[in-house]
């Protein structure tokens, strides 16, 4: 009974859903502030993401006549639920996640595929012109970045010999020098994550200047608030996953590890924001050719490298 309560507490309060949503607001603010400072602006006040969320919650929800009402209402929640479920398998407090089993890395990667699919379905069932174009672009981009993302995240498992994120982190924490081998995959994964989050230079699906705001163009009010929340939670999930797989350096003390987790996430956020500020939007054909011609070969190179190292070291 007590273990069950503990599990509920971990799943819903810390480091589960509540921590995820609060930390997503914090990272959202830091992202926007950094973006503003790099453009020589002052930027929003600290409460801006909270104010935006409450404002959207209070607005009236309008559903287009031609839209499929059920799909239109459900998709934001599907997106949020997938992200919140995946977050339970990513280690936040030390090296151990709330739940873990051999193969949870695959589960998390598949959960990460759900938000883009949900956005696609939302756009498709809105039946707007811009929404349909945005939705097809989301799907095109999904097929392109998913391959280098999967390969580059599965390459480190070849050395560690496990498909569980917690065990992977524990292995690399014990052998920190092995983590340096995965640098090419880390490069490919970081760019694929930027692509997954639809941030510049890969914000082709929600290109404001061409197709208004992509798949979510017909959304407003509460449903948009949940989509925005799911998106910023996805940012936290992606950054945590990256830090668990590619930056698995631990001190061994729980509190210090948590501080280290925050420092790691902030550093990764800085890199992602730097990428967003410094580059302009790519066309969809350029995204496709970049992902296939640059990212996929880098990820495949990492697989070959890791197999050679695994063979020569007899791990």
């Amino acid at each position: 009974m007590i273990s069950f309560l503990k599990m509920l507490l971990a799943a819903f309060i810390f480091p589960g859903f509540l921590f995820l949503s609060v930390y997503s607001l914090v990272l959202d603010f830091i992202d926007r502030k950094l973006y503003a400072r790099m453009q020589n602006r002052v930027g929003p006040p600290w409460y801006q993401p909270v104010a935006d969320f409450f404002k959207l919650i209070g607005k009236k929800t309008l559903i287009p006549v031609e839209a499929n009402k059920m799909m239109f209402r459900i998709m934001p929640l599907v997106s949020l639920a997938a992200v919140a479920a995946a977050f339970l398998y990513v280690p936040v407090l030390g090296q151990d996640a709330v739940f873990s089993f051999d193969g949870d890395l695959i589960i998390v990667l598949y959960f990460l595929t759900v938000p883009p699919i949900a956005a696609f379905l939302a756009g498709w069932y809105s039946r707007g012109v811009y929404a349909t174009i945005g939705a097809t672009r989301i799907l095109t981009q999904l097929f392109v970045y998913e391959v280098p993302l999967f390969i580059s995240l599965l390459a480190p498992t070849l050395i560690a010999g496990t498909w569980s994120i917690s065990e992977l982190t524990a292995f690399y924490a014990a052998h920190p020098l092995y983590a340096l081998i995965n640098l090419p995959a880390a490069f490919a994964a970081l760019i694929s994550f930027q692509c997954k989050l639809e941030r510049a230079p890969f914000d082709t699906p929600e290109a404001e200047t061409e197709i208004v705001s992509g798949a979510l163009v017909e959304y407003g009010g509460r449903l948009l608030a949940f989509f925005k929340m799911a998106h910023s939670c996805e940012l936290v999930l992606v950054i945590s996953l990256f830090s668990a797989v590619f930056l698995p350096f631990m001190t061994g003390y729980v509190f210090a590890d948590f501080l280290l987790y925050i420092v790691k996430t902030l550093v990764i956020l800085l890199l992602l924001t730097l990428m967003r500020v410094s580059m302009a939007r790519l066309k969809i054909n350029n995204v496709v050719s970049f992902c296939w011609k640059v990212l996929a070969p880098v990820a495949l190179f990492q697989v070959v490298l890791n197999l050679v190292i695994r063979g020569s070291l007899q791990i």
Partner: protein, 184 residues
């Protein structure tokens, strides 16, 4: 009950702190449009007060509208206004948007923005300075705050509804008004 009140207060606070705008040109000469875009540049940095420019009317709270309403944009303006979800506000930027300006009584112009949709704040000027636009948004938010305090929101909403109806059936009501005059 206290929880409901807290959420209500949070929503009111959010509405004041995060006005998202959408810009629409109803037939302006582009002078006011340049100034509106000017006020969104890093020089003025409106994100400091939470103002973001949105592409879709469904995401936005404030319709920033420039120019006298021409017959061609009239239907589009009404459509965009109706796509925005409540609570929504309209700011008329420039003399033409306020009254019709030099285009008043032109054969292809219906007049200012308020001849089609209800307007909350008028900003005169030709062309308007970006500071005036920022001050207009500030005044709108102040008005909103006072309206919440006085609890007159419902009355305002009723007035706005009446106004939209009269704007839609503008010609009919004009005829009705004229009739009693003839009798007298």
């Amino acid at each position: 009950m206290t929880n409901v009140n807290l959420i209500k207060k949070a929503i009111e606070w959010g509405t004041e702190k995060s006005p998202w705008i959408i810009h629409f040109n109803a037939g302006a000469c582009n002078g006011c449009d340049i100034e509106t875009i000017d006020s969104l540049t890093p020089r003025y940095d409106l994100e400091r007060v939470g103002i973001l420019k949105q592409g879709s009317p469904r995401h936005a709270d404030i319709l920033v509208c420039t120019g006298a309403v021409t017959l061609q944009t009239r239907d589009r303006l009404i459509q965009i206004y109706e796509q925005m979800s409540d609570p929504k506000f309209v700011i008329a930027i420039g003399t033409c948007a306020c009254t019709g300006g030099i285009f008043e009584d032109c054969y292809c112009v219906t007049g200012g923005i308020d001849s089609v949709i209800p307007v909350d704040v008028y900003v005169p000027g030709c062309a308007v300075r970006p500071e005036a636009i920022i001050s207009a948004v500030d005044k709108l938010l102040e008005k909103l705050k006072n309206a919440e305090k006085d609890e007159n929101q419902q009355k305002n909403a009723e007035k706005i509804e009446e106004k939209t109806e009269t704007a839609k059936n503008g010609e009919e009501t004009a005829e009705q008004k004229e009739e009693p005059k003839n009798d007298a």
